[in-house]
């Protein structure tokens, strides 16, 4: 069948990318391949293959890189993957929530936006308490006051859709008491 040969080609291609990513010494190639993989993660057709190739872990690894480009692309990849239930579970199993949360303080807006969307995608009944942790809500409250319309809108969606009124009220009053929002950095660019 045509479909199966097409999909095995696809798998092989993605595998080649992953291999190049792991083997290359060139930062430039690494960035390019990572961006490729992250963009492939946008298409649900590739998700099963990417999961088999453990690309969710590859993206998570990038979150602790020093280079902001790698972090941004890795987070973008996670954002693209995480709408899929299987990929979501893979991310959760690898301790994704903490890694992603830690990047809410990234200086890059694109990284922060991807992180927020990914966190929303990771919400399940089991993970909701961790994703609505007060520290995350404080970040979102801070972002909702940002100058950037995209950051403001996305954090507003998070606050309205992910957490309860009570959680929100509690987070608000905690912030008012401690002025902790001031300490939460906003992305610079």
């Amino acid at each position: 069948q045509v479909g199966s040969s097409e999909s095995s080609d696809r798998f092989e291609y993605l595998q080649t990318l992953v291999t190049e990513f792991q083997d290359t010494d060139s930062d430039e190639a690494k960035e390019q391949v990572l961006a490729n993989l992250a963009n492939f993660a946008y298409d649900p057709k590739n998700l099963e293959f990417l999961r088999q190739l453990q690309v969710p872990d590859l993206f998570l690894d990038m979150l602790t890189e020093e280079q902001e480009n790698l972090v941004e692309f890795g987070m973008g990849g996670l954002c693209n993957l995480s709408a899929d239930p299987d990929c979501r579970d893979a991310i959760l199993q690898s301790g994704g929530i903490e890694l992603i949360t830690s990047r809410l303080s990234s200086p890059r807006e694109e990284t922060v936006l991807s992180a927020i969307t990914t966190l929303m995608n990771l919400v399940t009944p089991a993970t909701r308490p961790r994703i609505t942790d007060p520290s995350i809500l404080h970040c979102m409250l801070r972002f909702s006051l940002s100058e950037s319309p995209r950051l403001r809108n996305l954090s507003a969606v998070f606050l309205q859709d992910v957490c309860s009124e009570e959680q929100l009220d509690r987070a608000r009053s905690q912030m008012a008491g401690r002025h902790s929002a001031v300490g939460i950095p906003l992305p610079r660019d």
Binding site: A29, K45, E72, L154, Q160
Partner: protein
């Protein structure tokens, strides 16, 4: 409505120029196997970057706004547009903000219009999600998620067959359904209905049943085409954009059925779209059959909040479509003008 910063009442401020408006440098150092058909920059697209709002830069300032919007309308219903006079533009060019009804239309428009020459200028088209409202953003994310969920539920085999042009009804049920939910899955949308339809004619009543019958079998005697349009209309989200709808209609009657599924943004979108268009016609005609796969919310359907009103709406729309399609078999696709300006 499309003001950047909806919480910000200062609508007179100059719109900000964001990084993602910039045209990034094309990457020239890729090895052969990673080279796409088109030179591209190293950039990761996510749903956050996409938007039904596009900014078109580099439009020659020679009064070609109508032509520009007509060009945009080739890719889907344009809901709103306006010149961004305040936005820093190159000399003798203008910048426009265009809001498409669907993100898939914006995607197609960006893909086809970016870096294309237009009345002597070269357009630069980019997504401008900062013009979204909170609700726009919410819907965008919801559509993306439900699309991916749907794709996950669907087996790989069905997914593959949907992109083939041959048509087997049972496999098409899901795609047809997804079209009806109006998620991110349709490339073009048939929204609304003519404001001034011709009076109803008797023989249309028989065709109405196509829409409400349990299993439409309108694929005989040449009624398929009409039935298809009706089904579209029923699922169409907002009734207010008359002219553009007619435009869509005239453009696509016969061959074009709009890519009903979410079309991957990646490389072979164009090809896929064409195939899907061919197969979609039947997909829509079988969508009333029992569905395989998850039932999805149908956010874009016009809801009058009353069952009978809804039925009436679709009946009326249906009839109007019928009436419209009969006298003008090949109306000229040139009714874009009376669009609302924002």
């Amino acid at each position: 409505m499309a003001t950047p910063g909806n919480n910000n009442p200062d609508c007179w401020s100059v719109p900000d120029v964001y990084n993602h408006h910039e045209q990034k440098k094309v990457c020239i150092s890729r090895p052969k196997y990673r080279e796409g058909r088109k030179a591209r920059a190293v950039k990761v697209y996510t749903i956050n970057l996409e938007s039904c709002y596009l900014m078109v830069q580099g439009v020659p300032a020679i009064g070609v706004m109508t032509e520009l919007i007509q060009l945009c309308a080739l890719y889907g219903t344009v809901e709103e547009y306006r010149p961004l006079d305040e936005y820093p533009a190159e000399q003798f060019t203008e910048v426009y903000l265009v809001k498409f009804q669907k993100i898939t239309s914006a995607r197609a428009a960006k893909r086809h219009m970016d870096e294309k020459s237009f009345y002597g200028g070269v357009l630069h088209v980019c997504y401008v999600p900062e013009y979204e409202t909170v609700e726009d953003t919410r819907l965008k994310l919801r559509d993306r998620k439900s699309y991916v969920m749907r794709a996950a539920m669907r087996s790989g085999i069905i997914y593959e067959t949907t992109s083939s042009s041959s048509i087997s009804t049972s496999d098409r049920i899901n795609p047809g359904h997804s079209e009806n939910t109006g998620g991110p899955s349709s490339v073009s949308s048939y929204s609304g209905f003519p404001l001034l339809p011709l009076p109803p004619q008797e023989h249309h009543f028989s065709r109405r049943e196509n829409q409400h019958g349990v299993a439409p079998t309108e694929d005989k005697m040449g009624t398929l085409h009409n039935a298809f349009i009706e089904a579209k209309q029923q699922g169409a989200p907002s009734p207010e954009h008359t002219s553009s709808n007619r435009d869509r209609h005239t453009e696509h009657t016969g061959t074009k059925a709009s890519a009903c599924r979410f079309v991957p943004r990646t490389t072979h979108l164009e090809n896929r779209k064409r195939k899907i268009e061919e197969s979609d016609e039947v997909a829509v005609s079988v969508q009333k059959q029992p569905l395989i796969g998850p039932k999805l919310p149908e956010p874009s359907r016009v809801d009058m909040e009353d069952e009978s009103l809804n039925t009436t709406v679709s009946l009326i729309r249906n009839t109007m479509k019928q009436v419209e399609s009969v006298p003008e078999c090949k109306p000229v696709a040139k009714k874009v003008k009376p669009r609302r300006r924002i």
